[in-house]
């Protein structure tokens, strides 16, 4: 939930625990999430600590008998962690905005009241830090999108958008790494391989890296 007043800890069945940080979504909070993930991964109950957007999912190696103890441990760790300022690489992507590869650009125009050029300019201006990986193999959740082009997720998810699709969902933006369904608004496309299962590590990007979108073309 946006700008909650305090930490929220909840269960995802018996498979995982979800920790949500309070306040506005910021890079500083995300850096503390990265730090919390490193700490939690050392705990014997935890198989993986998976950052999300200012939140963290702990997948259980074995579900703990008592939740209160681990919740307390998690809250205490959150108080203690220092932001982990990861210095990663910068990767640049050429994007074709609009046209067949950006079927929902018009919806973003309709919602924001901005023109295509204004949306493209605001989308391609920032250097986007990679907050987290998720959604599908190699997919990066990016921070730092201009709030003025935020557009809610679609009421009915689209069954298939191609790999390389550049999309906006709520206040976030991202690039699909492979074909699949999506509830986001697709505004453009790019060609880049984000994931190779035989490589080590298999994902091109990691939390702490940055992405920049370069405007290759705008199709109206």
């Amino acid at each position: 939930m946006s700008a909650a007043a305090e930490v929220s800890i909840s269960v995802l069945g018996t498979s995982a625990l979800l920790f949500e940080a309070p306040g506005e979504m910021t890079l500083a909070t995300q850096q503390r999430i990265w730090s919390l993930a490193r700490e939690a991964e050392t705990w014997p109950e935890v198989r993986e600590a998976v950052p999300g957007m200012n939140n963290l999912m702990l997948s259980w190696r074995r579900a703990p008998a008592r939740l209160d103890e681990i919740e307390a441990r998690l809250r205490a760790a959150w108080e203690d962690v220092e932001p982990l300022a990861l210095q990663g690489r910068v990767v640049e992507l050429d994007v074709v905005y609009g046209g067949e590869g950006g079927p929902h650009l018009a919806d973003v125009v309709a919602h924001t009241g901005l023109s295509v050029d204004e949306i493209v300019e605001r989308h391609s201006a920032p250097l986007y830090p990679v907050y987290a990986l998720g959604s599908h193999p190699g997919y990066c959740y990016l921070g730092g999108m201009d709030a003025r082009i935020a557009t809610p997720r679609r009421k009915v998810p689209v069954l298939r958008i191609p790999g390389g699709a550049v999309s906006i969902g709520g206040a976030q933006t991202g690039v699909s790494a492979s074909d699949g369904p999506s509830g986001w608004n697709t505004i453009g496309c790019t060609s880049m391989s984000f994931f190779d299962p035989l490589a080590d590590p298999p994902a091109l990007l990691a939390p702490g890296d940055c992405l920049r979108f370069r405007v290759k073309k705008v199709v109206r």
């Binding site: 498979s15 200012n54 998720g134 997720r153 492979s178």
Partner: protein
């Protein structure tokens, strides 16, 4: 070695799933009914993580190119080896050249189920990718070339266990040993999730009290349910966060979607609850068009359910082990 003579879409190689790769956006994949897969492996003396073929649509025909012990678990279908009936959940032997046909689920079957598992002695031998032989459809890796099986595909079996095979040895399926129903419908235990209280009292009451239909738009990614539209107290806009199979998301239309084995490992729709891990196999077997009920449960009950499932597996291993040792 088996050769696929015919298959409709969607048969895939699966094992118990790919763990430890959430950090790269890779979900678990794996069998929709992991108990059936595990039972087949137990009957054949395979390792727990041996892979099998998950068959969701019938008929399905294979030819054995070499002698092979096998077991068919999961949904009870009209299965015949060179025309002769094969019993479900039972260790069987095939000789080179024999043809196995998985026909339609039995009329009058005591357990309506949708997915069958063809387990081979030695397991299905495909390369393990990121620690698992499960098929990762989105991203196209794992299993056989990261895709559903098709006519003409040939699959090898790994080295079969040396001895102990007992032809005709069978297991009573957990659907019968661990029944769970409400008003005659399969029932699934659910732990409320973070946004549970963000739904109106009437919606929450309806969620527990009413049946939910599994629509035709349901598959390994997610089961889209049809029932009373669920209303939130206010619009909920979420941040993307990790999710697991079983999470029940509610998109703006109010019709819930249960994330299944091929679901994205993260998402941003509000969550009403999560089907507990111990009951995912029941949901994974519920046929399209059928209806289910949800049962509210708490942490202790959910852990007890996991223990019960592990206990069933341990007992199956113990009893089968006694007979295979003779």
């Amino acid at each position: 070695m088996i050769e696929l003579l015919s298959t409709s879409a969607l048969a895939t190689v699966q094992d118990l799933g790919r763990e430890g790769a959430l950090r790269w956006g890779v979900g678990t994949a794996g069998a929709m009914d992991p108990l059936a897969l595990a039972a087949g492996n137990i009957l054949l003396g395979n390792a727990d993580d041996a892979a099998a073929i998950e068959v969701p649509v019938f008929p399905f025909r294979v030819r054995f190119a070499a002698d092979c012990d096998f077991a068919l678990t999961g949904a009870d279908v009209d299965a015949r080896l060179d025309g002769r009936a094969v019993l479900p959940w039972t260790a069987a032997q095939a000789c080179a050249g024999q043809e196995l046909v998985l026909g339609l689920p039995h009329r009058g079957a005591t357990w309506p189920a949708s997915r069958a598992y063809l387990c081979l002695a030695g397991g299905v031998d495909v390369p393990a990718v990121l620690g698992s032989r499960s098929t990762q459809l989105r991203g196209a890796f794992g299993g056989l070339e990261g895709r559903p099986l098709r006519q003409g595909d040939a699959l090898r079996a790994g080295a079969a266990p040396n001895e102990g095979f007992v032809e005709g040895l069978g297991l009573v399926p957990p659907a019968l040993a661990l029944p769970q129903q409400r008003d005659g419908l399969p029932a699934l235990r659910v732990l409320p999730a973070a946004e549970y209280l963000a739904y109106t009292e009437a919606s929450r009451a309806a969620f527990w009290a009413e049946p939910w239909k599994i629509t035709a738009q349901s598959d390994r990614y997610g089961y889209r349910l049809e029932g009373r539209p669920l209303e939130a107290v206010a619009t909920i806009e979420m941040r993307s966060h990790g999710i697991v199979p079983g999470v029940i998301q509610v998109p703006p239309g109010g019709q819930p979607i249960v994330q299944m084995r091929d679901a994205q490992p993260s998402g941003g729709y509000p969550k009403l609850g999560t089907v507990i891990e111990a009951d995912l196999w029941r949901l994974g077997q519920a046929p399209i068009g059928s209806r289910v009920r949800f049962i509210e449960c708490d942490w202790d009950a959910a852990l007890a359910a996991l223990d019960e499932m592990q206990h069933w597996l341990a007992e199956a291993r113990r009893w089968v082990g006694l007979h295979r040792a003779r």
